[in-house]
């Protein structure tokens, strides 16, 4: 019996339609955190100096990174729904790295997808990071529960997914950020402990209470900022104007193609946002760039 390799420890989600588990595709890493939440149990009757922690509750969480962003719409819809899903982890076969081997350490439980980050960076494979917070107990997984083998996924180069902004909160977001290098969309649910005296067992019940999101993009500063008028893209001066106005603007993240990768095709997600920070960096003998942080203003829309 050798050491289990990471590619054969897989996180799976339960597909209600197929009535089977499916691995999180194109995963590059995962972490499972099982927590015994403790309080100090030391009191004056205890002799000695060392603490004696006592378990008062149990909680668990899972994080997983992946190269698959083809399901961006589904993930953005899933986190917005605030509905729990069933997660499982198990050892998988070395023949396909997906079929479960029904290991003794396999566990399943109900969890909320509470944090999603997509990174679409220029000349890099786009990535997705998922975080799940368990709600309720973990259980051993029966031998009858099956995994469905999924097809190999595809890679998305970051330069083909771009951020478009409007100049106010009424016009459509039709203008791309010019000379952009990075783009990140981060969506997060606020989770609260909803465990009560009515809850049996030691496992914490977690429930989502609110959603927030932010978008961060980085771009090079063009000399004279002539990019704006010359080639139809927003540059630093446009972002400064948006900052000075201080009111929300509309945004969308779309698949792109065409000249300069600036022609929008299908929209992945859109909404309104407020530019909260604009940081301009000009290090000696290096390209000057800026980073804009935009906070979500109201719900986003997942519609193409």
């Amino acid at each position: 019996m050798g050491t289990l390799k990471g590619q054969n420890f897989r996180i799976c989600t339960y597909d209600i339609t197929a009535a089977k588990y499916k691995v999180i595709g194109m995963a590059t890493g995962c972490t499972v955190n099982l927590q015994n939440n403790t309080e100090s149990g030391t009191h004056k009757d205890v002799v000695g100096s060392a603490d004696m922690p006592v378990t008062v509750s149990k909680s668990w969480s899972v994080s997983c990174d992946s190269l698959n962003v083809a399901d961006a719409a589904a993930m953005l819809t899933a986190i917005k729904s605030m509905e729990p899903m069933t997660l499982m982890w198990d050892e998988t076969s070395t023949t396909d790295n997906q079929t479960r081997e029904k290991a003794a350490f396999a566990r399943k439980g109900s969890a909320y997808l509470n944090d999603v980050t997509f990174n679409f960076n220029d000349r890099e494979n786009s990535t997705k990071s998922l975080q799940f917070t368990g709600s309720g107990p973990l259980q051993a997984v029966g031998s009858s529960e099956a995994t469905d083998v999924i097809a190999l996924g595809s890679y998305t180069k970051g330069q083909f997914v771009r951020l478009f902004l409007s100049s106010d909160n009424t016009a459509a977001p039709a203008t791309v950020i010019g000379a952009a290098k990075t783009l990140s969309l981060h969506v997060s649910l606020t989770m609260e402990d909803a465990t009560t005296k009515d809850t049996t067992g030691e496992w914490q019940i977690q429930e989502p209470t609110g959603l927030s999101y932010d978008i961060t993009t980085g771009a090079l500063v063009r000399s004279g900022d002539t990019i704006t008028s010359a080639v139809g893209a927003k540059g630093l001066s446009d972002l400064e104007t948006i900052h000075e106005t201080g009111t929300p603007v509309k945004w969308k993240i779309s698949n792109t193609g065409g000249d300069n990768n600036r022609t929008a095709s299908s929209t992945i997600v859109s909404g309104s946002c407020l530019l909260t920070q604009l940081a301009i960096n000009a290090p000696n003998r290096q390209n000057a760039d800026y980073t804009a942080t935009l906070n979500g203003y109201g719900d986003y829309t997942v519609a193409a």
Binding site: A70, A72, F120, G153, S154, T156, V302, A304
Partner: protein, 66 residues
């Protein structure tokens, strides 16, 4: 939801998840436009266009009927 154009629905269905494929990024974008036109009234949710190991492109679309 109407289905005007079968050519973009090769291995697909008009509910649930659909994968549009093409040899180029533009071809996938064109298929998306055709699918959108044929799915009047439905909400189409698009993922990011990906490139497969064989060089072809694909786009996952989740279709929600009204």
């Amino acid at each position: 939801m109407s289905k005007k154009d079968n050519k973009v629905i090769d291995e697909k269905k008009l509910s649930g998840t659909t994968i549009l494929t093409g040899k180029t990024r533009d071809e996938v974008a064109q298929k998306f436009d055709e699918l959108k036109a044929s799915c009047e009234g439905a909400t189409l949710m698009a993922g990011a266009v990906g490139q497969k190991a064989d060089g072809t492109f694909e786009l996952r679309i989740d279709i929600v009927q009204p």
